[in-house]
């Protein structure tokens, strides 16, 4: 009875801390501006099915795509076994599902073992890619320190968890053969049978201890991992699904027209240019044009930031980055997440929103990075879960131009030319037809 109580407490604590953190992240995401996304549900479900569940964009890079799918399938299916472990833990049974599934149970356990090995292989390949091979996007400045450690920790934890599962099965099958009390004969062990020689020499009592240690290591490991995920880039395993569902369905080249600006332009072009809008008593302070800090972003931008797993395909495809500019779309997403976490922590400490004198633009992202962007959408296209770094970049530029009138000289002169003679260069409109005279 005591192990069951300990397990129940452990499980509830793990699940409870996790739920608390999820609630906190949800609150942080909705610190962003409201944005209504509820059109075209059929297309959105399809996107989620294809891009998140079907991994359609992962496989554009076959090596990473293949091994990622191994871990992805392994993770989802092995969760069925985790469910059994939880039920065993709560009820004190051993291999709870076995009597109900019969021969299929043996197939499942065997299949999970094969998956576990494939996951271990994939993790080792990824560890090699991250640490030994010279893949440029894993060695960029924003990947130094915690992000690098984070990536490695996830892979190492997964190897340990899968290892515990296999060792647990190895001890279990020996105990089953010896007819040890409580160890019902169930499961097939295509992989862990090779680990049997390492454990076969032990006394039955010692083996039971081993089997229990691996069992507890597996489930505690999973609970720890569960609570590590929301603090980590690995959170994409959950947020990839809503993120693809809510992703932009419009043509990528189409930038939104700011409604506040349209109102002004309509007033100037159409109606009485001297008319002032009706003063409204309940109108708050005028809204900021564009984005200076994370709370100026909309909730989808913040969901993007929490969904990012820092794979770096965006930066790898970015023409600005490729030509040595400072811009890295991945860093934009990482900065956004770091800043919204900071704002959330301030809120927790003070109990109300506070002004800490820090902002996303300026303290995290520099103007030089923003002006390096060509708005080509390569980053948006490359993202395996449809994250949109360009939307954040664009809205910060809007802030720089429309609130602070800050632009590099070349851009200022382009503005002047468009304004004065209707072309980005200093040519008069009268010369537009010159090419016609040069014909024939």
């Amino acid at each position: 009875m005591i192990p069951q109580i300990i397990f129940t407490l452990l499980f509830l604590t793990g699940a409870g801390i996790f739920a608390f953190k999820i609630k906190q992240i949800r609150r942080n995401i909705f610190l962003g501006k409201p944005l209504e996304i509820n059109d075209n549900k059929a297309k959105r479900w399809k996107n989620m099915a294809m891009v998140a569940m079907g991994q359609s964009k992962m496989v554009t890079r076959p090596v990473a795509g293949f091994f990622h799918i191994l871990i992805y399938i392994g993770f989802i299916l092995i969760n069925i076994e985790v469910l059994e472990i939880v039920i065993d833990g709560l009820t004190g049974e051993h291999r709870f599902f076995a009597p109900y599934l019969g021969g299929f149970y043996n197939f499942l356990i065997g299949f999970f073992e094969i998956l576990a090995v494939l996951v271990i292989i994939a993790c080792l390949v990824f560890l090699y890619r991250r640490n030994i091979s010279s893949i440029k996007r894993f060695k960029m400045p924003e990947m130094k320190g915690w992000p690098k450690l984070d990536g490695n920790l996830i892979l190492v934890i997964e190897v340990i968890l899968m290892g515990a599962l296999l060792k647990m099965n190895a001890c279990d099958q020996i105990l089953q053969l010896r007819g040890a009390d409580h160890y019902t004969v169930a499961g097939s062990f295509p992989i862990s049978q090779f680990l049997v020689p390492f454990f076969d020499g032990f006394e039955t009592g010692t083996l039971i201890t081993f089997e229990r240690i691996f069992w507890w290591a597996h489930i505690t490991g999973i609970l720890i991992f569960l609570n590590y995920v929301p603090y980590s880039k690995h959170f994409h395993i959950m947020l990839a699904f809503p993120n693809t569902y809510y992703s932009n369905l419009k043509p990528k080249g189409q930038l939104n027209n700011m409604a506040a600006v349209k109102k002004e332009v309509d007033l100037m072009m159409g109606g009485d240019p001297f008319a002032t809008p009706e003063p409204s008593l309940d109108a708050g302070p005028p809204e900021r044009f564009g984005v200076k800090d994370v709370t100026d972003l909309n909730w989808k931008n913040l969901l993007d930031a929490y969904s990012c797993t820092e794979c770096g395909r965006c930066t790898d495809n970015c023409p600005a980055n490729q030509t040595g500019k400072l811009l890295s779309p991945r860093k934009v997403m990482m900065d956004t997440r770091d800043r919204i976490e900071e704002v959330g922590k301030n809120l927790d400490k003070a109990g109300k929103p506070i002004e800490d004198g820090i902002s996303l633009l300026g303290n995290y992202i520099t103007e030089e990075e923003l002006w390096a962007c060509t708005t080509c959408n390569a980053c948006v296209d490359a993202c395996p879960i449809n994250i949109d770094p360009l939307d954040i970049i664009m809205n910060m530029r809007r802030y720089l131009i429309m609130e602070e009138s800050k632009s590099p000289d070349s851009i200022t002169s382009m503005f002047n030319n468009v304004e004065n003679n209707g072309a980005p260069w200093a040519f008069p409109a009268a010369d537009r037809g010159k090419w016609i005279d040069e014909l024939n």
Binding site: P251, Q254, M269, R398, M402, V418, G422, W425
Partner: protein, 147 residues
């Protein structure tokens, strides 16, 4: 290559009581940049040889506002858009073929919300349609092996 190339402006067309099938939106590069002008001239030639009734805006065409928008100057963009839409709607333009890919995106995707609704296609699509419809006689094998 026999027909001399004639490029009327929208103003001239309307003045003579004609309505062109399609407006050729040249764009700033196509108007001012020497290399891009070659494309403009070649496309005008193709339209002429295929007997397409077309016109340009000439000095009434203005920057679509795209460079301003992408640099963050939404106000300047919307001012440009409003002016262009006023001209286009004034001529009751229905079909637009663009020389410039940036104008293509802006007029097709960003103008409708601001009151400019047109059928917009890129000049490469237009040429493709001409070939498909048999309006442009291209010698067999002319494009073979070329990309």
């Amino acid at each position: 290559m026999s027909t001399p190339i004639h490029v009327p402006t929208m103003a001239q067309m309307i003045a003579s009581g004609e309505v062109p099938e399609v407006l050729f939106w040249v764009g700033c590069s196509g108007s001012f940049d020497d290399r891009a002008k070659k494309i403009t001239k070649a496309f005008a030639n193709i339209l002429t040889q295929a007997n397409v009734s077309f016109a340009v805006l000439g000095s009434e065409e203005g920057c679509s506002g795209d460079p301003a928008k992408r640099a963050g100057n939404e106000f300047l963009f919307q001012m440009q858009a409003a002016q262009n839409i006023m001209v286009l709607n004034g001529y009751d333009v229905k079909n637009i073929v663009t020389g410039c890919p940036h104008c293509f995106n802006t007029i097709k995707n960003e103008y409708p919300e601001l009151g400019g609704n047109y059928n917009v296609i890129h000049h490469t699509q237009f040429i493709n349609n001409l070939i498909k419809d048999g309006k442009l006689d291209i010698a067999k094998n002319l494009l073979k092996g070329r990309k």
